[in-house]
Amino acid sequence: METKRLIIVAVGGQGNLLASKVLGEAALLADIPVRMSEIHGMAQRGGVVESAVVFGDAESTIISDGEADVLLGFEPSETLRALNKCNAETVVITNTAPLPPFTVAIGKGTYPDLNELQKLIRQKTARMVAFDAQALAKQAGNFMSLNMVLLGSLIQTGIMPVSAENVKKAIRTSTKKAFVDINIKAFELGFEAAAKAA
């Protein structure tokens, strides 16, 4: 089976580990080989959290620079920072709602211009889907459902070998009961947003 490589980058607390877990569970439902890795050292202290999901026949659980098929970014400047994982064929999906690091607040660095940021990503990759996923999460009923919104748009692109059906099933079994409806709604909103962006 063809290998598909996905990098997810987020800021600690944005819930990307749950997103990759849902993808993994969806792959398990469909009997698709999957391997994942995550670096969550000090995730809760506001650092960057990166996870890699590799579908198909590969043994490696990490993804080298230039080798991601899809880059899914939960925060625009982090998406840009992870551009080295991409190549000219990579599809990038990114939330556009910024979460500036505290270094910006204390004057140690400037947050990139959002239009410029999108232009750069678009220039260097095959395709970019960019939208305010945070707003859609709020619309779904909880700002924490950002991860599910982004999963929705990821699945809409059709690049990952898991179906929307299975991802929704996995959302039902592996996210908190009280949030399942919101999460499904968020997933669907993200799915539609990506369809519109196409």
Binding site: V11, G12, S20, K21, G24, E25, A27, L28, P33, V34, R35, M36, S37, E38, I39, H40, G41, M42, Q44, R45, G46, G47, V48, D57, A58, E59, S60, T61, I62, I63, S64, D65, G66, E67, S77, E78, L80, R81, L83, N84, C86, N87, A88, L99, P100, P101, F102, T103, V104, A105, I106, K108, G109, T110, Y111, P112, E116, L120, K124, T125
Partner: protein, 623 residues
Amino acid sequence: MHKLLTKNPGQKMLLLGNEAIARGAIEAGVAVASTYPGTPSSEISLNFFQMAQESDLYFEYSTNEKVAMEVAAAAANSGLRSMCVMKHVGVNVAADALMTLAYVGVKGGMVVLTADDPYMFSSQNEQDNRYYAKLSGLPLVEPSSVEEAKDLIAYAFEISEKLQEPVLFRTTTRINHSSAIVTLGKIKVPQTKGDFVKDPFNLVTVPAVSRKLHVKLLENIEKAKEFSEASQYNFITGNGKWGIICNGVSYNYASDAIKELDIADNIRFLRIGFSYPMPEKIIKPFLKACEKVLIIEEGEPYMEEQVKAFAQEEGLILPIRGKAKDLFSRLYEYDPAQVRENIARFFEVPYTPAVKPDISDVPELPQRPPTLCAGCSHRATYYAVKKAAEGLGTIYPTDIGCYTLGVLPPLSTADFLLCMGSSVGTGCGFSASTDKKVISFIGDSTFFHSGIPGLVNAVFNNHNFTLVILDNSTTAMTGHQPHPGVDMQDFNLTGYGRVSIEKVVRAIGVPHVEIIKPYRVNKSIAALKEAIDYEGVSVIISKEACTLYAQSLKKARGKPFYINEKCKDHRECVNELACPAFYIEGERVHINADLCSGCAVCAQICPEKAIVPVRSKEKIRSS
């Protein structure tokens, strides 16, 4: 029921490496498990902790790795299967027990898990603990994948019982923190009641006994070598003339590379999973069948040294390479592309690497280092210490925990760090060797782990320094595990004792002890000034719960604060405290109400008294 206690052999589950390892231990019938938490191993013990509450497993968070090792060693010498889990540097702490345990051996199986951390994702060094096997003479196994990790645990227990020796089980971060689909096996019902049979002339390591035991250990290493040579975890695939030898995760990268480079026909591929003793009888014929050999192992040239020694013994002169400027580094972790490229270069096969985007025109992005949480009590303590020590030119030895993040400006309260507990010992040393004021920082869990002997030393040798114990009632950094100072009722658990840090400090005889509440800024500064002025050992215990943990336990969270129109833009809050809840918008400082924990520290330092709590129903801005 805990998912890892599921009795359904054949069921497939998506598991984190650390979950697979914990499950492996349960399947192997482990009866006693002990640990001191340390990333990347922490989830193994977290799962043990949870499972112990609903099964026969005895599990404990020990005060440090040495104690954990001793607990597990005694269990195994009482005939039970025991396991102790630690991060790689934890083995340094436990090494004293480990080295002689190798002489004494075990009756029940014992597995010592060392979680190495190439690239130092969350560690102070990247030492390669395979050398502990060589140093102690104990067998070492290491998995390449999550699935294999589960099965290898049962195997390690078997080998341990056959040899009557503990077995070292080495992982790296990419095993611990990778996930894959694992097939559950049968759970072996553990033997949970041990019996200790007295045998002092084999178990009490006085010199006369140890001289005998060392002979036995050397014989055991020979036996272990036979196991390694017969092990299904040391295997060869392919029958080409280009040899590749791998261990751990490098095996995955090399497997993928061989496929991608389409060179399987030329390759003879040896995977080492039982890596001490190295399987001589496998490696020597392997070398004879190859024209050249590439050794791929993260960390030190552990296998390379041994393989070259074997080649020398056989008079073989084929090129054997691994660590070299143009090949593999001793630094950091490897990745698939790097392995692919080096395989292609070494065997001279064509290869076009993926084209990375030219990012030269991407503007420099602001860094996003991990930082103390909004409202973290450590930030409050550090602020107070800096105010109290203003103008003194202080040295700040620090220790291991969230509070190490005080190294970042503007707090900049970390000047020296070696290992767990080192803030106290190095505090003694700096005060003896310089005229500078020394203020050391240590967390509560770290204090119990290895801070106490240093403090005893300070009192005995009458050093002149201040030790600030940052007591937030948890082991925060590794995921909020308990420690001896914690009220176990917070975990709904009874039957535990509780040790008071204050009583320990006073009992040691520290002449100046004060407890502060760091959220009370001025009082804290005043108490710290007194402690700093004191000639001799002074201890400040700064007591406030970890705010992240308190919030997760749904313990009271204060009302968020906001900045009103009295703000004159001094920015002392941002520049000196740098709470991550602050952000600048429209040239003004704001507070993100979602992040603010309501600690009120910033409100106390604002010269305009412009930071005030949000009154109910008042409209505030949140991001």
